[in-house]
Amino acid sequence: MLTRDLIKALARAWYGREIDDAAATRTAATLSPLLVTHGSGPATRPFADEAAGFGGALMAGAERKADPR
């Protein structure tokens, strides 16, 4: 879970900027629901393969034969 104070500290450390309490609170609230694990498991292939795989997945999805009914 991200907190207001963590966001303020990161803003200072990473970007050399101060952000106000309200903005930090809003940022933490926006990001917290996104920071969940999606069960991907450990990566067993290089990332580049996975990124390139998106195009491949689309092409495979386009070529997949539909139910012949």
Partner: protein
């Protein structure tokens, strides 16, 4: 006659020009006259380029008179969301920060439309950096809905949807990163295609989140959207994400009908929060397709909420990366709403972003397998409510995700994450006279199937033919 021209479909006016029943100059003049009357009321145009458009129309007529070969859109008046770069001109992207930025090259889609003979009449409204489904822009004022000017047109391609619905132009290009073409199209009663990732070049268009961004043709009919798509689709060496497979004959695909097609109706994720009046109109649309011979299959879509969150991760991280210097150095030039939307992206962990990308091919394959082996297309509601009033949507926290149109993106963003094609089709009006649309989605590069279903629906309904009062 003059005012009848802009009210014709894009396909009809293109045919009239090609057969020399009307000139390109007449078509352009008629649209410009309508724009002069209608655009100020709707605030849908950022710029009107009358002299350049008339000169282009005269050139188009001269070429036709010489018997030169002409493109499919020869002489057709269009205008586009102000996110497409043209060499030597400013593309504002709806932002104060970009107001003086002159483009160094021209977007591929603009070049392709010009190559097909289309004539650009101007640039159209969008929220700052295309952020916001309600369509507000505190720099330029709100774009208004042609069906009721006290209501929003939606966003972010609200200027495109409003101009097309109001019969100011025959078609438009918008963009869609999370629903930005489909939602305003539904709210204004027009058709918009979010194409498969890789079908249409994004070179020279404003990058918001490149792994999600698409260029979206918008028009009044599915046939017109198919014509626009055919003109701009296909591989582009300047955008390496485009694919080199041949572009299908979309016009031929329109005639197939829906007999025997399986239309999937997911009743869980997509129906949450949809007003009963809107849902009734969508269900009536489903019954129309069923009566035309489609097989309706109700089922659940797996993991939709997770897909929406993964889409948000990509959107926020990529938008913040692209705009980082501005976010840090020129924050005071953003409107507070957009700054609040973009800033969280600065704090997304790299591992989270990489996970969202890494999972994408697997989740796409799973989704396609689980859904599109069972059905040919999905049909879902699009706008959970009709267009809210400008007054009500200007109040409160616009980034609140429980607001109806923000919530609506839960039904659109997953298709951007998965890279799948999806299309907005108008399906009726609320008792208050505001449009409602449904969404069709298909397997990768199945635009032809979406056109086939949408066209079959429009052949037996007349929602797309209804016109708002001036």
């Amino acid at each position: 006659m003059s005012d009848d021209l802009p009210r014709m479909t894009l396909a009809a006016v293109a045919e009239q020009i090609r057969s020399r029943q009307v000139s390109a100059e007449e078509a352009v003049k008629a649209c410009l006259q309508r724009i002069e009357r209608g655009a100020p009321k709707l605030n849908c145009f950022f710029s009107i380029e009358a002299e350049e458009a008339l000169a282009a129309a005269r050139r188009a007529d001269a070429a036709l008179a010489k018997g030169a070969g002409v493109g499919a859109l020869h002489g057709v008046p269009l205008a586009h969301k102000d996110v497409f770069f043209r060499k030597g001109k400013v593309a504002t992207c709806g932002a104060r920060i970009c107001r003086d930025m002159i483009a160094e090259e021209t977007a591929t889609v603009i070049e392709r439309l010009a190559g097909a003979g289309a004539i650009q009449l101007g640039t159209l409204h969008l929220p700052e950096f295309a952020m916001g489904p309600e369509g507000h822009n505190d720099h330029f004022g709100p774009c208004r809905n042609p069906w009721n000017a006290d209501h929003v047109a939606g966003g972010s391609s609200g200027g495109s949807a409003a101009a097309v619905a109001a019969r100011l132009v025959h078609g438009s290009l918008g963009s869609d990163t999370g629903g930005s073409a489909r939602l305003p199209a539904a709210l204004c009663g027009v058709v918009a295609l979010k194409p498969t990732h890789g079908l249409i070049s994004r070179h020279g268009s404003m990058p918001l989140a490149p792994s999600l961004d698409t260029v979206s043709p918008i028009a009044r009919t599915v046939e017109d959207v198919a014509l626009l798509t055919a003109a701009i689709a296909g591989a582009d060496p300047k955008d390496p994400t485009t694919v080199s497979t041949p572009v299908p004959d979309y016009q031929a695909s329109l005639q197939g009908g829906v007999k025997g097609l399986r239309v999937g109706v997911p009743t869980d994720h997509f129906h949450v929060g949809v007003q009963p009046e809107v849902l009734d109109l969508v269900r009536a649309g489903i019954r129309v397709l069923e009566a035309e011979g489609a097989e309706i299959v109700e089922f659940s879509v797996p993991g939709a909420d997770a897909l929406v969150n993964l889409s948000s991760t990509l959107l926020l991280a990529e938008a913040a990366s692209i705009q980082k210097t501005w976010l840090l150095e020129r924050a005071d030039e953003y409107t507070p709403f957009v700054l609040n939307r973009l800033r969280p992206g600065l704090f997304i962990p790299a591992t989270q972003y990489v996970d969202a990308l890494r999972l994408r091919p697997r989740l796409t394959q799973e989704f396609v397998g689980q859904v599109f082996d069972r059905v040919d297309v999905l049909l879902t509601p699009l706008n959970p409510v009709a267009a809210p009033s400008i007054k009500e949507s200007e109040t409160g926290d616009r980034s609140d995700l429980t607001r109806p149109l923000n919530r609506a993106t839960r039904g659109t963003r997953l298709f951007n994450y998965l890279g799948l094609p999806a299309m907005a089709v108008p399906c009726g009006f609320t008792k208050a006279g505001l449009p409602v649309g449904f969404q069709l989605a298909g397997r990768p590069f199945a635009e032809a199937t979406l056109f086939r279903v949408g066209h079959a629906y429009q052949r037996v309904t007349d929602w797309h033919a209804r016109e708002p009062n001036e």
